[in-house]
Subunit: 101 residues, 2 copies
DNA sequence: CAGGATCCCTACGGATACTG
DNA sequence: CAGTATCCGTAGGGATCCTG
């Protein structure tokens, strides 16, 4: 009974600061660390942590290029896209809830 | 861009300890404080806080009876049922994600 | 019974400085 | 550029005791 352990874990990660914003931003296409940092107004510490978590859950792909200066591209995996769609649905659900109010 | 403020707030509340479990339990019918406390293994402090939050968001209805000893019945509102369905869908989504792995 | 009050520990996250 | 390391304040939540 209750949510599965996996679902609770996903829920927790998505609720952390910047998580949904990262997914949303990557939904528009791949981006670099500094791009995300600028757009999302997150400290590098938090952004790095969030990207690591999302990567570990298989929602975000990380591609590093051996250049100078270094370049790292982040993008959504198919799983990430699925979760992003879910978030968008949450948005719609909450919207209809407001109407009912 | 990004989730609406309201959606982020809902997400945060749902991710907190015991929140989804409370909704899930109430999905089976109304229950009293002590019922929930026993089933969910939450400290009274946390359970009370969670119920207050869910009530404030309009997901849970609180009905107190002026008896001795006191009796309080909690139940889902229509909005609460809608959110619970959403959580159940998260469960299914995460399940399919595991398969893809 | 249904909580509130208090104490206390842990996790989260910002600011700043530093590095491969 | 893409992070990591450190310091530190705030929020979440358990344990315990108390009360209308």
């Amino acid at each position: 009974m209750g949510l599965s352990k996996g679902a609770r874990k996903v829920l927790k990660v998505l609720a952390r600061r910047g998580a949904s914003e990262v997914l949303w931003a990557l939904g528009k296409g791949s981006a670099r660390f500094s791009d995300l940092e600028a757009v999302l107004r997150l400290s590098p510490r938090t952004l790095a942590e969030r990207l690591r978590e999302l990567h570990l859950m298989g929602f975000v792909d990380r591609r590093a290029y051996a250049e100078v200066p270094p370049r790292v591209e982040y993008s959504l995996t198919p799983r990430g896209k699925r979760v992003l769609e879910f978030l968008m649905e949450l948005d719609r659900v909450v919207e209809t809830l407001e109407e009912v109010r």
